[in-house]
């Protein structure tokens, strides 16, 4: 099954789910993480200015999907706990109702945009009174104190609660999971083993680290590496399993992994 990663609008988890589910008619459980990552990166390149909100939205999506998918990967031990099963259905119902509600407002927003566009074709007169009447205008500063002015200034320049984090550099990221796998395939044989922290030490962006993490998972799944965690709260160690001659062509299917 092929999922179009071309997402015209990338607006958040429900948006994305809706998109994938409605437009591509994809089973949620077959949504490939690599597509999400690629769609996200592609979107970043297209966006003129980035918004931290979108970045967090992405993390939320990724986390949600990883959770759902990891549940699915766990071995099915046969005796399903009925309560858990019910809870799962409840969860699904909840998600369904939220998706429906979200779609309702999304469509309402489209209608509202249409109304606003139509209204935008008319321009209100806001010229105000002619000069000859200006003398009559009451002094607007009459009840304003210097302290009011100070407060107004502080209000105006108060650090906007959306932190202005400069993430413009994310635009330059063009790495996909496949790229990251290829990079690691080049890197690891020579080292034998390395900690994940070392492997990602020179990465600047969190998103690149995430992509590398996904790449490591993928390589693990392919059986090319082993992952160890020497200490319970320690870092990950990535061990090259030595079956070195995995040609580049083999990587072509990495993006299509359904892990």
């Amino acid at each position: 099954m092929s999922v179009a990663v071309e997402t015209p609008v990338f607006q958040g988890p429900f948006d994305l789910l809706l998109h994938l589910i409605l437009q591509d008619q994809v089973d949620l459980y077959e949504v490939r993480l690599s597509d999400i990552v690629d769609a996200y990166l592609g979107q970043l390149e297209r966006l003129e200015s980035m918004d931290l909100e979108i970045a967090t939205e992405f993390l939320l999506i990724a986390a949600t999907l990883i959770e759902l998918k990891s549940k699915r990967l766990l071995p099915d031990d046969g005796d399903v706990d009925l309560d858990e099963e019910l809870a799962l259905w409840e969860e699904r119902d909840l998600l369904l109702s939220r998706l429906v509600e979200c779609k309702t407002f999304k469509d309402a927003a489209v209608a509202m945009a249409g109304i606003a566009n139509e209204a935008g074709r008319s321009y209100a007169r806001t010229v105000g009174v002619e000069e000859r009447f200006l003398g009559l205008l009451p002094d607007l500063l009459e009840r304003t104190t210097p302290d009011d002015l100070r407060s107004a200034f502080l209000r105006a320049v108060a650090p906007k609660p959306v932190p202005h984090v400069d993430i413009a550099h994310i635009h330059q990221i063009r790495i996909t999971v496949t790229d990251a796998v290829a990079e690691l395939m080049h890197e690891l044989p020579g080292r034998g083993r390395a900690s994940f922290a070392e492997l990602t030490a020179d990465l600047v962006d969190r998103i690149e680290v995430i992509v590398h993490f996904l790449a490591v998972l993928e390589m693990y799944k392919q059986g090319w590496i082993d992952i160890e965690m020497p200490e319970i709260v320690g870092g990950l160690e990535v061990v090259w399993l030595g079956d070195a001659e995995v040609a580049d062509e083999d990587l072509a299917f990495v993006d299509a992994y359904d892990g």
Binding site: M1, Q11, G12, P13, F14, L17, L18, I21, L22, Q25, V26, D27, L28, Y29, E30, D51, L52, E53, T56, E57, L60, R72, R92, L95, L96, R98, L99, V100, E101, C102, K103, T104, F105, K106, D107, A108, A109, V110, A111, M112, A113, I115, A116, E118, A119, G120, R121, S122, Y123, A124, R125, T126, V127, G128, V129, E130, F133, K160, P161, V162
Partner: protein, 213 residues
């Protein structure tokens, strides 16, 4: 002065006031300044609007956000846009529009409630909307948290060219049809694998319309 003269004077005075107001002129103030009952103001303005329409003026008199104002005729947009540069600056992002729709239909509503519907934190978008003057705090939740509750402003109505919130299309119109429900539901069902393709059922029989609660 004859009754006709008086009527003409009122009409002229109304036109003069409408020309200088920077915001939609509310009937109460017009009634006070023209010294006529509020109902007469409405009639006078309605007649004026019809007259401009009938004589093919390039401007209109419309009631927006509870008041009357002159605005350019939509047909003349191409000319006015060439002249007024701000045209596009007022555009809202999709995220902002969706949030605005939620506030418009569910007001009064808290940020947490908005976030629950959108699935993401709405603080940044709400700030933009507040700065633009489309939404504002309108109340406090009486509950323990005393959460701030938001609603839309007259500027929002002006932006949409509406006189009243009632003029928004009913939310029920947007509740997805059964086909969408089914597609969504299927998408969430683990055992539902590709065997069955979603038949694009034809246009939405409006599903349950109880989402506007």
């Amino acid at each position: 002065m004859s009754e006709d003269d008086r009527a003409r004077d009122r009409r002229r005075a109304a036109e003069a006031l409408l020309l200088v107001t920077e915001e939609p002129l509310v009937p109460e103030l017009m009634a006070q300044l023209l010294e006529i009952p509020k109902a007469d103001v409405e009639q006078l303005c309605t007649e004026l609007a019809a007259e401009y329409d009938a004589t093919d003026r390039g401007f209109q008199l419309v009631k927006v956000a509870g008041g009357w104002r002159f605005q350019t005729h939509p047909d003349m947009a191409p000319y006015v846009e060439r002249f007024v540069l701000e045209g596009q600056s007022g555009r809202l992002s999709n995220a902002a529009l969706e949030t605005l729709a939620i506030v418009a239909y569910k007001q009064p509503i808290s940020r947490a409630q908005i976030a629950a519907i959108r699935g993401v934190n709405a603080d940044g978008v709400m700030r933009t909307l507040t700065q633009r003057g489309y939404v504002d705090e309108i109340a406090r939740d009486p509950g323990p948290g005393q959460a701030v509750l938001y609603g839309t402003t007259p500027s929002f109505l002006e932006k949409l060219g509406l006189n009243d919130l009632d003029e928004l299309p009913a939310l029920g119109d947007f509740v997805p049809g059964a086909d969408v429900f089914e597609t969504l539901e299927r998408g969430l069902r683990p055992e539902a694998i590709a065997e069955e393709q979603a038949p694009p059922a034809d246009e939405a029989e409006p599903g349950s319309d109880d989402t506007d609660a």
